[in-house]
């Protein structure tokens, strides 16, 4: 929140990077950034403002809105016992900068983000699906994905068909 000790340190670290403070109901210091400035901002917050831990990296799909995605980083400073949250708007198909160089623990969260929303992270060395099978075609947490799925049994059926063809090649048509 503007005017607090946290915000002064964050503002100091983010000097030269365009950012805007948000007022959220939970009272956590939150700011909005442009995608272009995100990588610099994350590095500055770690190195200059002392946020040595990334609590989570996630995304929100606000479908009718353009751009549709909102990438959320929440950072935590152990030394100051303070948190800050970063919101970045992102269109479908745009790549986000990976923060795994700064916080290796964010790798799983970025993988989950890719799995669920289809947001690709530039600089992530092992960006593959975390929860869904690797052959899965959709990104389930997108708002335009039906919650009952699109052919949810497809992968099982394919596996079953292949297996039966191996058992009884003459029966497989």
């Amino acid at each position: 929140m503007p005017g607090t000790i946290t915000s002064e340190r964050v503002d100091g670290a983010l000097a030269g990077i365009e950012h805007r403070w948000l007022v959220h109901r939970d009272g956590l210091p939150a700011l909005e950034l442009d995608l272009a400035g995100l990588a610099h901002a994350l590095r500055a917050l770690k190195e200059r403002a002392g946020f040595e831990s990334a609590t989570f990296v996630t995304a929100v799909d606000r479908l009718p809105r353009v751009p549709r995605f909102e990438l959320v980083h929440q950072l935590f400073s152990l030394a100051h016992n303070e948190r800050v949250r970063l919101h970045t708007r992102l269109a479908d198909g745009e790549n986000a900068p990976s923060c795994t160089q700064l916080w290796p623990g964010a790798a799983y969260m970025e993988r989950e983000c890719y799995d669920m929303f289809g947001i690709r992270f530039e600089g992530h060395v092992g960006l593959k699906r975390l929860l869904m099978p690797e052959e899965f075609e959709h990104h389930p947490l997108r708002k335009d994905f039906p919650h009952q799925g699109i052919e949810p049994d497809r992968l099982y059926r394919e596996w079953d068909k292949k297996r039966r063809a191996e058992w009884h090649p003459e029966a497989a048509r």
Partner: protein
């Protein structure tokens, strides 16, 4: 003896006459070996059921084995996801016949509250289920009741008819008659045989 029903007048000579179906079924139903496929919270109730308090040993079904090769009762206890479905089907295929399936809890019976892209909406879409147990999770008593119901079902089977009919005539359950009508996908999978099954090598 219960279901064996010996012919009374032959009993005094140290032997009795009965139907061989009754004898086989009597042995099968009182020595079920469950394969616990504990996928979520139902697995905890399943452990309670096997433990001393509820004591499934009273019904001869306490010998849980973690190799499907040694089991004849698959208890699907919990939420089956599509990612897990192939593994569950493999476990079922590796069990030697005759084999039975209990869908324990609403998740494995119908998908339960998980009306989701990730969850199998009832394990009967990949496995032939004998007894469904409602509850979230069901109490151990309910599952014991399911095992008793399965025992009465086994009593009605005709294993000898299956042996005499030869391969390919009766269904894989050995009942000699279709006792259930699953959907098309399951009915197809029920009749497909494992390559190790002797009936698969007939042609």
């Amino acid at each position: 003896m219960g279901a064996l029903k010996p012919v009374p007048e032959t009993r005094e000579d140290g032997f009795f006459a009965t139907r061989i179906d009754a004898l086989i079924n009597w042995g099968r139903k009182n020595s079920l070996w469950p394969m616990p496929l504990g996928l979520s919270c139902c697995g905890i109730e399943l452990m309670a059921m096997l433990g001393p308090k509820f004591d499934l040993a009273r019904f001869g079904a306490e010998a849980a084995r973690f190799s499907p090769r040694q089991c004849d009762l698959l208890v699907v206890a919990g939420t089956l996801t599509w990612k897990m479905a192939a593994a569950a089907r493999l476990v079922y295929d590796q069990m030697p016949e005759p084999k039975w399936v209990i869908a324990m809890g609403v998740c494995s019976s119908t998908g339960g509250m998980y009306d989701s892209y990730a969850v199998v909406q009832g394990v009967d879409s990949i496995l032939p289920v004998d007894v469904y147990v409602p509850g979230c999770p069901p109490r151990p008593d309910a599952v014991i009741d399911a095992i008793l119901k399965l025992q009465t079902k086994i009593e009605r089977e005709r294993p000898l008819a299956r042996i005499l009919a030869g391969p390919g005539v009766s269904d894989e359950r050995g009942t000699g008659a279709r006792t259930y009508q699953p959907n098309d996908a399951v009915r197809k999978s029920v009749y497909d045989l494992h390559p190790h099954d002797p009936r698969a090598r007939k042609g």
